[in-house]
Every structure is written in structure tokens, then in C-alpha cells.
Amino acid sequence: MIITGNDREKISKLQEQLATEFEMKNLGGLKYFLGIEVARSRQGIFLSQRKYVLDLLSETGMLDCKPADTPVVQNHGLGEFPN
């Protein structure tokens, strides 16, 4: 879960409340959520799905595959046209 807001006291309060009934684990700043990698600096926030894609390639055994812009031949058509 992500917690954000401009009221730091309320944020800590919520943390405390949650900890009274759930076994909470503080992961610190937001780093990875729903497949999105988050990197924060003073200039802004950088989002990427690099890890998500690598995990997906790993799961499907396609890590060694060559990248292609499109996975099928272009303008192939749906069936065969004899003439």
C-alpha cells in the first residue's frame, strides 16, 4: 500500500493505527508498486516498467529473444489469397 499526503502527523497516526491490528512492514519510500518502478530525486520522479518486463520475459522464457518492433510480418492479411 502507498500512503501520501501533506499532513505528516496524520501519516504517522495512520501507520500506528494499522500496526495495532496488522503485521506491518515499512518498505520506506515508494520503489515498486503494481509493476512500476519509482525513482525519486529533487528534480522529480522517474517511472519505469523495466523490472516488470524483465520478470515477464523471465517467466515466459524469452530473455534471450531478439527484440522486434512487431512480432508478425507486416501487411500479412488474415487468410491466403490464391490470386
Partner: protein
């Protein structure tokens, strides 16, 4: 890093896992958590009832850079053998919307808000199970029970059809009790002014 991601050996069965101390330790930790949460009690199987199977599932969690973050062992119930209307009723549970996350990130950037991330350990074990479900006694290194006993589940174990929904209900209930309003456009968003 591609190399690391693809060559990590993940066991398929408990027997395979027992060759590696990392996995043994994880099995023991998971078993401890299950016992601490009173996930089940040992009972003789009542006549006419059937047990559900269970199995250990192993996985390696990687950090964003591909290095190993931790090993994970989880006991799951074979929920696919459950019958709708008998072992469970409703199962829908919402997932956070990506758009909501983008809005939160945008707010954080523009208003300079902090972004904290939290995880709940063993989420499903926080909710009492309402249905009567019996499960086979799982393999463990220190299995104390012998004879004809089974596990009567008391908590929503991983793998049960009703577990995600039960957890979400439990969590929303808590958030509303803290005075947070559940958003109508995304039920996984809770707001407080």
C-alpha cells in the same frame, strides 16, 4: 542481470527444497507464522466432510537490479477443489487502479509530498474464516500430529477462493474505522481531509 534472473533454482516440491538450508529456514518461518496466527486447529475429520489438499510454493524475490532480495516459502490451500456455494460464496476483490497511482505520484511531485510504501505480512492470516473448511495436515519438519487428524481452517489461508475478498473487507473496515472515506471511483483509495 538476465543471467541471475533465469538461473535461480526454484524447487517445485518440498523434497527438492529440503536440499537447501535457505528454503528449510523459510519453511520453518512460514510454519511459525501460520501457528502464531492460529491458522488452523487439529481435529478429527467429521463424517461426511472432505479435506482440501495443500502444497508448498517456493519463489525467489528479486530486487529491481536483479539481485536476490529473499527466498519465500508459502503454504497454499488447493483452492481449485473448492465448490461454489458450499466452500465459498463471493470472491471479487478490487486491485488498485494504475490511474490512481499516477494521480498520487503526480500529487507527490507537484506538492512535494512524501510517498511511503507498506506491506502487510501474511495478509490473509488476519481474517477469520467464516466457512467450515478442512485441509490435509501439511508437511512440516516438526509435524507433531499423528493419527487421524486434519486441519480445520480458522483463518483465510492463501489459495482459498475467499481469501482476497475477505482480506479486502477486513482492511476497508479498519480504514473506515480510522475515519477514512472510501473513494467511489476506486474502492482501493481511502481519503481523509
Amino acid at each position: 542481470m538476465a543471467h541471475k534472473l533465469s538461473t535461480e533454482d526454484v524447487p517445485n516440491t518440498v523434497n527438492e527444497a529440503l536440499n537447501n538450508p535457505n528454503w528449510i529456514q523459510m519453511i520453518e518461518e512460514e510454519m511459525e507464522a501460520l501457528q502464531k496466527n492460529n491458522t488452523w486447529k487439529f481435529v478429527p475429520l467429521p463424517e461426511g466432510k472432505k479435506t482440501m489438499g495443500c502444497r508448498w510454493v517456493f519463489s525467489v524475490k528479486h530486487k529491481a537490479d536483479g539481485s536476490v532480495e529473499r527466498y519465500k516459502a508459502r503454504l497454499v490451500a488447493k483452492g481449485y477443489t473448492q465448490t461454489y456455494g458450499i466452500d465459498y460464496q463471493e470472491t471479487f476483490s478490487p486491485v488498485a487502479k494504475l490511474n490512481t497511482m499516477r494521480v498520487l505520484i503526480s500529487l507527490a511531485v507537484n506538492l512535494d509530498w512524501p510517498l511511503h510504501q507498506f506491506d502487510v505480512k501474511n495478509v490473509f492470516l488476519h481474517k477469520d474464516l467464516e466457512q467450515e473448511v478442512y485441509m490435509d495436515v501439511p508437511f512440516s519438519l516438526t509435524s507433531p500430529m499423528q493419527g487421524k487428524v486434519v486441519c480445520k481452517l480458522q483463518k483465510t489461508l492463501y489459495g482459498l477462493k475467499q481469501s482476497p475478498r475477505a482480506w479486502f473487507g477486513r482492511f476497508s473496515f479498519a480504514m473506515r474505522r480510522y475515519g477514512y472515506k472510501q473513494s467511489n471511483s476506486d474502492h482501493t483509495l481511502f481519503l481523509k481531509h
